[in-house]
Symmetry: C2
Subunit: 417 residues, 2 copies
């Protein structure tokens, strides 16, 4: 007997047929003797529809009202799945965020979970009843419905798993796991059996949209073993790994991964824009004068590169922002020209960030050199480079994205089956 | 300064344009210095859509899950209206049933309101903030969302009005008041300025679908002055009565109606079926043996007629049920033939009940005789008659409905302007 959290996203509950399919997945685990809590998203398209209604009512809208409106999507799915489970003889009940309760902070629209009371769910699970929890939502300190921001149901699932001390959190999605890179771009991409929390964090934040970043952070902090697996498998007889684990990708502690590859995956992030501020004074406070106004304008800055100034007096700062925020970001910097004190402002859209990720590179020299050499051999110019302990990112012109990803995927031996 | 409850039904909040229109109605009252609480239904069509989803998930479904799913409709409207109000500078917030809370009994799917805590709404209204309350819902003794059954938002509105001691409860709808009869059938039908609670109860239960019966009961018990008025009036300049009251129909205590007409209105109820049980023993327990099984089968019996037995031994019982339940009702009675002990079971669909209503008839003799004479003059056969203190109902063949209604409307002087 194990205690499981099963999470199903929007496409897995898109209509009544898919909801019935989910119910069969749940029944399989219940029949195997497990205690089960399920976390569900809104039916696909529903959240967008509700968001559009809020925007239609007013462009600037009260985030608390937005939350009340948008959270209704998961409320509906949780009730429908409980009904579908009961219809096939599985005892179940729905739980809204405010009922458990799932307590969040007061940042309506993008709230963070602060605590979950798992007592009642555990009681009911022990009595043989499946808890169907509405994902993506909680209750704020003001006693009002809060939502976690898009993709928040993954976070709900991991948080519920931590609260009820689940043995495993299975994230059912429309892919069968985490891949070495985007399989739509690289047909030779391989499914990873295991990936460490740290690597997954880099992959998630770099645009592999399998899991929400916050959910991976939470899984890492609480040590929740999280499986990414397909909801399109036969609900009664899904494929399994030789060791009995689900067929999919286990996201787990690095220690659990015995044979660690040097490089685990290649991620990329398109639709970026690059902004370079030329010849700023190399003195304390300059970086703050650039990035504080950008943060205040709610512009998400990703890569930041600043080289050591050659003459000890002036330097260049380069950073990337989402292409959609490019014009706004340029204006913010132009408006502060006097304050920042730069000579020239340059920028361009149409760039892409490609990243090589792997915890193994901590103990292996030459990983970066290998990437640079391979890209050079293909004639791909590298505009900027940043690195962390387990990641190397390069900024390139975005027409070269596919070539760069395929080249790197191959050079690190990820093509091999 | 008055304290008002304004209730808007599904067609009044059918889309964002209509919701913005509602917001203007509310702003008018706020600008006039009133304290306002608003009660809203789901956007029209929404509740049916959610009910269909529940039925699709399973024909037999847990009423508690049904409630969680269906209550989401009003949740969405309440949030959207709060946003629309804020957008035009009216301070407002939404309240879900569980937030006030509106406490109901545990009869999920058709719950009755037991109590409403108006404290917080009053506090906020006094601070100048409009409370937008999701209608049709509350929280049951089990801490789960409950719904009041179809049309329940009227009941929510009246109950909220009672809880916050409102001076008036305005029910905005797609008609501009209560009429002497159905204006689609009788062009000469006139809008009533006032109608007593008792009369409205008879009219509501007889198929004038303006207000839910339960809401009228509640208004009567708590003495809530309730106006039925049109949401299609100009929101900034709605028509008013000479005395400043809204243009519409005031449902109020009989005492408030100075010039009471003998007959206030003619109601009718089509799609009825009549069932007659011939020659049953005239002894205690017979009526129970007929109607208890029907109640258990959830069949709503309307008219019941039992005449005094002519020979003191056997009698006939006639009753009506909705045409949709006719086959089921006949089967229930057939299955219990031995138990009930009757000679013959007869029935027919295609009958209509026409009723003459008026509190004035309590003090006027001959009101019934006038009806029978008028119907006879038109050659309309009366199949059965029942009367209460303020109502006379006759059962007729339904092809004569329009003729009967027009005849009675005219004979009691309701045609006059």
């Amino acid at each position: 007997m194990a205690r499981l959290v099963m999470k199903f996203g929007g496409t897995s509950v898109a209509d009544l047929d898919r909801i019935r399919n989910v119910a069969r997945h749940v029944k399989r685990e219940v029949d195997a003797g497990h205690q089960v809590a399920v976390v569900v998203s809104a039916m696909s398209g529903k959240t967008n529809e509700l968001v559009a209604l809020c925007r239609g009512a007013s462009i600037l809208h009260d985030a608390r009202e937005y939350d009340a409106v948008v959270a209704s999507g998961e409320q509906v799915t949780s009730g429908l799945l409980a009904i579908a489970l009961q219809a096939i003889g599985v005892d179940a009940r729905s739980w809204q965020g405010w009922q458990l309760p799932i307590r969040t902070d007061g940042a309506h629209g993008a709230a963070r979970i602060e605590s979950i009371d798992g007592t009642r769910v555990i009681e009911q699970m022990e009595a043989g009843r499946v808890a169907v929890v509405a994902g993506f939502q909680g209750i704020g300190p003001d006693g009002r419905i809060s939502t976690l921001g898009r993709g928040g149901s993954d976070t709900s699932a991991v948080a519920v798993a931590a609260a009820i001390r689940a043995d495993r959190c299975d994230i059912y999605t429309d892919v069968d796991g985490v891949y070495t890179t985007d399989p739509r771009m690289v047909p030779k991409a391989r499914r990873l059996d295991k990936v460490s929390f740290e690597e997954m964090l880099e992959m998630a934040s770099l645009g592999s949209k399998v899991l929400q970043v916050r959910s991976v952070e939470l899984a890492m902090v609480h040590g929740v073993r999280t499986f990414v697996r397909s909801s399109f498998e036969d609900p009664e007889n899904p494929k399994t790994q030789p060791n009995g684990d689900p067929f999919g990708t286990l996201i787990c502690d690095e220690d659990e991964i015995v044979e660690q590859e040097v490089v685990t995956g290649i991620a990329y992030s398109k639709d970026e824009a690059q902004i370079s501020i030329r010849r700023v004074a190399d003195q304390p406070g300059i970086a703050a004068s650039v990035f504080v106004p950008l943060a205040e304008a709610n512009i998400n800055v990703d890569m930041i590169v600043q080289n050591v100034a050659s003459n000890g007096a002036e330097t260049d700062i380069t950073f990337t922002v989402p292409a959609a925020d490019y014009e706004r970001a340029m204006k913010v910097i132009e408006d502060r020209k006097a304050e920042i004190g730069y000579l020239l402002l340059e920028g361009s859209t149409g760039v892409c960030k490609v990243s090589v990720i792997g915890v193994g590179m901590r103990s292996h020299a030459g990983v970066a050199a290998q990437a640079f050499k391979a890209l050079a051999a293909k004639g791909i110019n590298i505009r900027a480079i940043t690195t962390s302990e387990i990641k190397i990112s390069v900024l390139i012109e975005d027409v070269y994205t596919e070539l760069a990803v395929r080249t790197l995927h191959s050079v690190y031996g990820l093509d091999k089956g």
